[in-house]
Structure formats: structure tokens, C-alpha cells
Amino acid sequence: MIRQILPEQFNTSACVPKKDDGMSGAGKSETLRLGFMETMEVDGRGHIGGLLITNQNGRPLEFQCTTPVKPNRTQEILFGETLRSWLLGELIGSTLLDRVAIKPNIIITSDPNLLELRNHTSIPVACAADAKSKLAEQGCTLRIGGSILRFHEGHQLDAESLNKQKHLIPDAADLAEPLERVREALAETVKTVFAR
């Protein structure tokens, strides 16, 4: 509703992978770039987000993180329950995706709020959950290694497209592990830069 009333200002075109380096992976058909996105709250300063791009084996290729962003009181009131998904998924997520030079083929996160990002990009966004968790039972899912990927309910075809490239990811890959790296990197960034 809010977006219907208020002007939509985000330009999502930057998030769309280019033809020669994006989803199709043309020319490098056997490579897959995975994006791992996490956010964390910095005491009194808002939220920061980080996006780590790796190859299919988890080797880091690029990392971006934002400065803290904090919604004001008006935004808190007007966005209501959608504030978190707007802030994390739409605002921080889009910024990070726009910023990375190496566009991922899929974005994996542990925060369901970040699934909102899928409405602003053509790149599939999935929420990784432990195969045994209840979260895994919701919606359209895809099992990779020890993780279950849950996709945005409005973009269920993402699971099918990723399923075609699933063989590139090692069976034993732990998709939750790189998210831990992102959280550590965010904590280090907060400690090093923003805590000054």
C-alpha cells in the first residue's frame, strides 16, 4: 500500500545481471557466483549489510558492506510492519547488489526479510535454512548440500532455474558457512570503523 501512495524511486536496473556476465554465465558456463548477504544491527546506529560474492566453492571474490542506516521516526510509523523488509531487503540489499562489480547468480541469506530484495532484482534470492528446521518446510524449497533454500513466494520459478545449476555446487557445500563469514566481516567492520 505504501508504495502505491508514495512514489517508487528505486532504480533496480543496476541489479539486473548483464547478458554476458549474469545468470546465463555465457562463456563461463561451468562457473557459478554465489552471493551471501547478511545484515546486523549496530547499537544506536541502525543496520549495516554485507554482501560476499564467492565462486561455487566458497572462495571469496568480492565483498561489500554498507555504512549504518537508521530509519527515522516517520519511516518507522509509515512503513509499519514492512519497515524491516523495506530497510533490509529493499534499501540495504539493493544498494549492495548495485554496488558489487561481480554480480552473483543467486543471493543467499539467513534472514527472511531479505527475500524482499527479490522484488527489486531479477537475481534469485533464497533463504538458507537448516534441512531440519521448520522454515525449510515453508514455500518452494531446494535442497543443496546440508542446506534447504527457500525462495520468495512470488518467484517460485527461481528454484527451477537454480536446480539446473545445482550440479556446480559441491554436494558437501555448507551454504550457511559463508554467511558466518559475512557476519564476522560485518562485526570486524563495526569494530574497526564505525565504533570509532
Partner: protein, 648 residues
């Protein structure tokens, strides 16, 4: 009421003119009676309204004598009050994108994936992306099956100050999965402590890996080098080691990282110089002598610059004044690693020299014990078997304190008495070498009496060997002297002894070791410390005899570790022969006292492997002598005088 209507009424009211007396209520308030005038749609004519106003405007006034003034009509004026008619929507709000800054890092392996004309490495509001190292080809890797296991994360080094540098290490995957993905062909799965060592080396610019012998320093170093090369952190690496160990390193590189090209500096001077200065050689191996000689011959402007310099057996640079140490320090490099199982051989100052090589202390500085402890904590990684190999069969040490036989006792006392007399007769001309010769003579007598051939140690050895031979076991015996080994061999004939010492031609050595391993009847291998202490894997031997004691327990430990090392399946029983009431006992006591002091530097867990030698004062002290100088007799301070032996 509409705005228009209201204004019209106001005009109407403005035109009202009162001619009659106003009626003032008792309360003093003016009652104009205009309510009905302003209301209703049909308005009465003006004259009637005025007349009506006169009638209704009546004032009740107390009689105060001012009636004439009160009879005048009051002057009433009306005023138009403007109302705020424009409604403003305050505050106005539109959804704006909250400005954010980004901090970015492109890793070497990612550079290949950057869009051809990507300009996103720099932006007005973003921090410039930092490129670490050169672009590197990303490996195409197959789907390796990885089992869930403990993960070893690479921690950023304490001296990495920039955020980008720290993030580089933090963002690396766990070492286990990283190595699994590289399709590494490994003889066996590294142990957990080895993963930790690899991760520590990988992130260290200055590192002294001082693991106890047999824990795999070589493997850890090679794997860390491999990761540095793969991650683009290093392109040119030089490894310096003692000449006899070069084949060992070549073999280990082939085992652990066979795809890495390794070039050894050898040949004539021109070729060696070409190899030193030729860029593009990922790994160069050179011996200490070559390094000392060749580096000095290369002009300053042609001096090679390496991303990593590794010194194996780094105790070679313990004397910071030596040409070897100076040459090692002069090599230009970004990272410095030192490998040694014996970071302290004699004095704490040796550790200071190693820290100087690592460039973590100023040149010529002499850190005190407390500073050394602090530096050791930061730059030294030392693990002992006791700590990391809890599942490794134990090493059981037992000191066999033996009484000399009568003939040995007589020979020993006589030699000692005569020797001390001779030393005293030398007066001021006495040197440590004189004392040292006496010590050697006495130690030889404790092995066996040269005249009668009696030997308490041999008796004990034969008794033990009977049991070992009967059970099909194998033993290694170490002695300081080839002469002793040759003397022992015929006496151990029933156990099919094999001899391995400096007198055996090099080509014959390998078959001897092979025979000892494969021949079930060969129960004992007689080795000299000098030849057999380093680089051999004899973990199938369950017994080690130290027939006589070496000057330095570190050498003894190296010898013992030929048998007690990774791969050993059963406990290793180590028997040290010590002749009671002899020089051997005194030496052992002095060394034990020194252990306690130096253990403090390397930690409590290092109680068995701190290597210590005797200095001149201590050697003189073995006979209650004092060193003589021209000016008279005085104690010798802890000068770096290392006794040299005539060992094979």
C-alpha cells in the same frame, strides 16, 4: 459557514451605526442585541433596525452625577479578523533513499570476473576497492565429497591494521574446505593442529614455527606456501635450508604440492646468480652456504626481492653477528618465516637473533626475558607431542643409572685424577678445549673400559635386547662415537645389527635403512647422532637406546624422534644410559637446571624439548675449575662458546 458568507456578514456588521443609548447590563457588559441582526436570511430595513436598536439599547446606570456623559451613545467599531484559511500538510514526507556508503574489497580471485569496463572499484561515495595481489586464475574444481568436520578459520594477523587486510583473512573459507576444494593429493589427512599451523602461517608476515620435531613443520609450511601462491599473496618464494636437507624438501614438495615448480640453486656461480635473480620462479630452494656467498655477490640494484623468505633449521642464524645471519637479514622480502624445533639451543639471546631476522625487534636489540615471553606469544607457534598428539602412543623415558664395572671404575678414577692434575698444571694456559678433551675421555670410559672391554652399559643393553629380540621388536641405538658403534656391532651379532654412521658411504645408507625395516631378523640399528638424528622416519622401531649422552638434549630429542613420530603405532621406550657418579651424571644435572630457566620462555608445556648446551663456565664447573685468563683466574660469563665434538 462558508468563507464568502462570513466576509459578507462582517461587511454588514461594519455598516451598523448606533444612535440610541446602549443598554448596559448590571454586570457592566455591553449587550448589543446584534445576534438576531446577523442571523436569518431576511434582514429588516436599516431604519427599522436602528429604531429597534434604540429601543433595545437601554442602560441601567447608578446615579453618580455623570448622567450627561452617560447619555452619549458609545462608539462601537468592528474589526475584520482574518482566519488561516490555507490548510498545510505538515510535515510533508516522501520516501527517499537513505544515503549509505559502502566499503568494498575485491579479492584476487574475483578480479577475473570483474566486468570489462567496470568502474565500480572507485566511486564518489564508496571507498576504493583494494586489489590484493595480482589477478589469479580461478581453479576449475570438481565436486569433491567433503565430510562434516571441525573447521579452522584463518584469523587476521594482529599486525594487520587496515580493514581491507583484516577482511581478506576473515573472508577466506575454512581451511578444511579450502584445501578439500583444491584437489590436493595428500598422503594423509592433516591433523587439527596442523590445520591451525597452516592457518597461522598463512596469515603471518613474521612467524617462527617451532613445533617439536616430528609434528610436520615441513608439511605445514609447504601447504601454507601453496595457499599463499593460490590466493595471489605471493609469487616469489625462497626457502633456505641446510644442504643435506635439500633433497628432503624437494621430496616433500613433490608429495604435498606436486604442481608447484621448485628450483634448486646449484651449479656454478654464474648459474646460481642467474637463478637468484631470475623472476618468475615461484619457489627457490637454496642452502645456507649458497645464500651467504651468492647474495653478497649480487649488486645492490640487482638484489632479488621475495614475497616470502623461509629459513629451515633457523637456529643457523642464532648468532646475529655471523655472516649467515647477516646474509639472511639482507634478503629483501615481504614475509619472513623461520622453522626450527629448537628455537633456543643455548641462550635466550639466540631467540633475540631469530626475532631480529623476523624484523619484529630493532637491529641489535637484546630483549629481556619478559620481552621475549611477549614476543614469543605473538610470533612463535610451538606445539609439543604431549599437547597435540594426545592420541599418539606415548614416549616412555627411562633413565638407566648404571654402576660402572670394577675395571671401568678404576680406569675412570685414574683418568679423572690424572686429568685434573694435568689441567691444574696448565695454569693460565688452560682452555675450554683442554677440559673438553678430558670430558670426552671420561665419557668414553663410561661406555666401555678400553683395556678390558668391560661395559656396564653393554651388559644392560644385551639384557634388554634379548627381550626385544625375542618379541620381534626393533631398536635404534645412538652413540656419539663411531668407534663405540663399531665396538658394539660384533657384540650384538645375535641381533643382526646394522650400522649407520658417517663412515658408511652415502649410497649404502638407504639400503641399510630398508633392510632394517624389512628384515625381521634385524633387531637393532646402530647410529651416530650426527648422521642419524635428522630427517629419517623410523617409526617402526619401538625402542631407542641412548648409549651415551649428547651435549645437547635437543639433539637427543631429534634422535628419539626418528622413532617417535607421526605414524608410530606403539609406545616408544627410550632408555638413556647414565653412569652413576661420573661426568655423565654431572652433565645431566647441569642441563636439567637450565631447562627450568628456559622453559619459562616457551611455556610450561615445553618441559621436555627446550634444547640447551653447555657453555664454557659450565664445562669448567664440571671439575670445579675456573677459566683462566691472562690477568689471573676468573669465572667465565655466558659467552657464546659452543663446545664442538668429534662426533661422526
Amino acid at each position: 459557514m462558508s468563507e464568502f458568507d462570513f466576509d459578507d456578514d462582517a461587511k454588514f456588521a461594519d455598516d451598523v451605526e448606533f444612535t440610541g443609548e446602549p443598554e448596559v447590563s448590571a454586570s457592566g457588559y455591553l449587550d448589543t442585541g446584534l445576534e438576531h441582526v446577523a442571523s436569518g436570511d431576511s434582514r429588516p430595513p436599516l431604519a427599522e433596525s436602528i429604531a429597534e436598536a434604540k429601543r433595545s439599547t437601554r442602560i441601567d446606570v447608578a446615579q453618580t452625577g455623570f448622567n450627561p456623559a452617560l447619555s452619549r451613545m458609545p462608539s462601537i467599531e468592528t474589526q475584520t479578523v482574518s482566519l488561516n484559511t490555507v490548510l498545510d500538510f505538515v510535515p510533508s514526507w516522501t520516501a527517499r533513499r537513505i544515503p549509505m556508503k559502502c566499503i568494498g574489497l575485491t579479492l584476487p580471485e574475483g578480479i577475473e570476473f570483474l566486468p570489462p569496463k567496470a568502474d565500480s572499484t572507485k566511486s564518489s561515495d564508496g571507498v576504493e576497492l583494494k586489489r590484493i595481489g595480482p589477478a589469479k586464475k580461478v581453479e576449475e574444481e570438481s565436486d569433491g565429497v567433503e565430510k562434516p568436520r571441525k573447521v579452522t578459520r584463518i584469523k587476521p594477523p594482529a599486525d594487520a591494521l587496515s580493514l581491507q587486510d583484516r577482511l581478506f583473512y576473515l573472508l577466506q573459507p575454512p581451511l578444511e574446505s579450502w584445501l578439500a576444494e583444491q584437489e590436493l593429493i595428500m598422503p594423509f589427512e592433516p591433523f587439527g593442529y596442523q590445520y591451525e599451523g597452516i592457518a597461522w602461517l598463512f596469515s603471518s608476515h613474521s612467524a617462527l614455527l617451532a613445533d617439536e620435531m616430528g609434528l610436520g613443520k615441513t608439511m605445514q609450511t609447504i601447504t601454507a606456501i601453496r595457499l599463499l601462491l593460490r590466493s595471489g599473496q605471493a609469487r616469489r618464494i625462497v626457502l633456505i635450508c641446510p644442504k643435506p636437507l635439500i633433497p628432503n624438501w624437494q621430496r616433500e614438495f613433490k608429495t604435498w604440492a606436486e604442481e608447484l615448480p621448485v628450483v634448486t640453486v646449484e651449479g656454478n656461480g654464474q648459474r646460481r646468480r642467474m637463478l637468484w635473480t631470475m623472476p618468475g620462479i615461484p619457489i627457490l630452494i637454496a642452502n645456507y652456504e649458497s645464500m651467504t656467498r651468492d647474495i653478497a655477490d649480487i649488486p645492490e640494484d640487482e638484489q632479488p626481492k621475495f614475497d616470502l623468505l623461509v629459513l629451515d633449521e633457523a637456529q643457523r642464524v642464532k648468532n646475529r653477528e655471523s655472516r649467515t645471519a647477516e646474509a639472511a637479514r639482507s634478503i629483501k622480502r615481504r614475509r619472513s618465516w623461520a622453522l626450527t624445533g629448537t628455537p633456543i639451543e643455548n641462550r635466550p639471546e639466540e631467540l633475540g637473533a631469530l626475532f631480529e631476522f623476523l624484523e619484529v625487534v630493532p637491529k641489535g636489540s637484546c630483549p629481556d626475558l619478559r620481552q621475549l615471553q611477549k614476543l614469543a606469544k605473538k610470533y612463535i607457534l610451538r606445539r609439543t607431542k604431549d599437547v597435540v598428539m594426545s592420541d599418539m602412543p606415548p614416549r616412555i623415558d627411562r633413565d638407566a643409572e648404571l654402576e660402572l664395572t670394577d675395571a671401568q671404575e678404576y680406569a675412570y678414577r685414574t683418568a679423572e685424577k690424572e686429568g685434573i692434575i694435568q689441567l691444574n698444571e696448565l695454569g693460565d694456559t688452560i682452555t675450554v678445549q683442554h677440559v673438553f678433551e678430558l670430558v670426552l675421555r671420561l665419557k668414553q670410559i663410561t661406555n666401555y673400559d678400553p683395556f678390558t672391554g668391560e661395559s656396564a652399559k653393554l651388559e644392560r643393553l644385551l639384557a634388554d635386547m634379548e627381550e626385544i629380540g625375542a618379541s620381534g621388536g626393533k631398536a635404534i641405538l645412538f652413540s656419539q662415537w663411531t668407534k663405540t658403534i663399531d665396538w658394539l656391532a660384533p657384540k650384538l651379532k645375535e641381533f643382526n645389527p646394522l650400522i649407520y654412521h658417517g663412515g658408511v658411504p652415502t649410497k649404502q645408507r638407504e639400503p641399510i635403512l630398508a633392510k632394517f625395516k624389512e628384515d625381521p631378523n634385524a633387531h637393532i640399528l646402530l647410529m651416530s647422532y650426527g648422521t642419524g638424528a635428522v630427517g629419517l622416519n623410523l617409526q617402526f622401531a619401538g625402542y631407542v637406546f641412548l648409549f651415551d649422552r649428547w651435549w645437547n638434549p635437543a639433539i637427543e630429542d631429534q634422535a628419539i624422534n626418528r622413532a617417535h613420530r607421526i605414524g608410530v603405532k606403539n609406545p616408544v621406550i627410550v632408555t638413556r644410559f647414565i653412569s652413576k657418579n661420573t661426568i655423565e651424571e654431572r652433565i645431566d644435572r647441569v642441563l636439567s637446571e637450565k631447562r627450568a630457566l628456559f622453559a619459562a620462555i616457551l611455556g610450561d608445556g615445553d618441559n621436555n624439548n627446550v634444547s640447551l648446551g653447555l657453555n664454557a663456565t659450565e664445562i669448567f664447573g664440571l671439575f670445579d675449575l675456573k677459566a683462566r685468563h691472562k690477568g689471573g683466574s676468573k669465572s667465565i660469563g655466558p659467552k657464546p662458546v659452543e663446545p664442538q665434538t668429534d662426533a661422526a
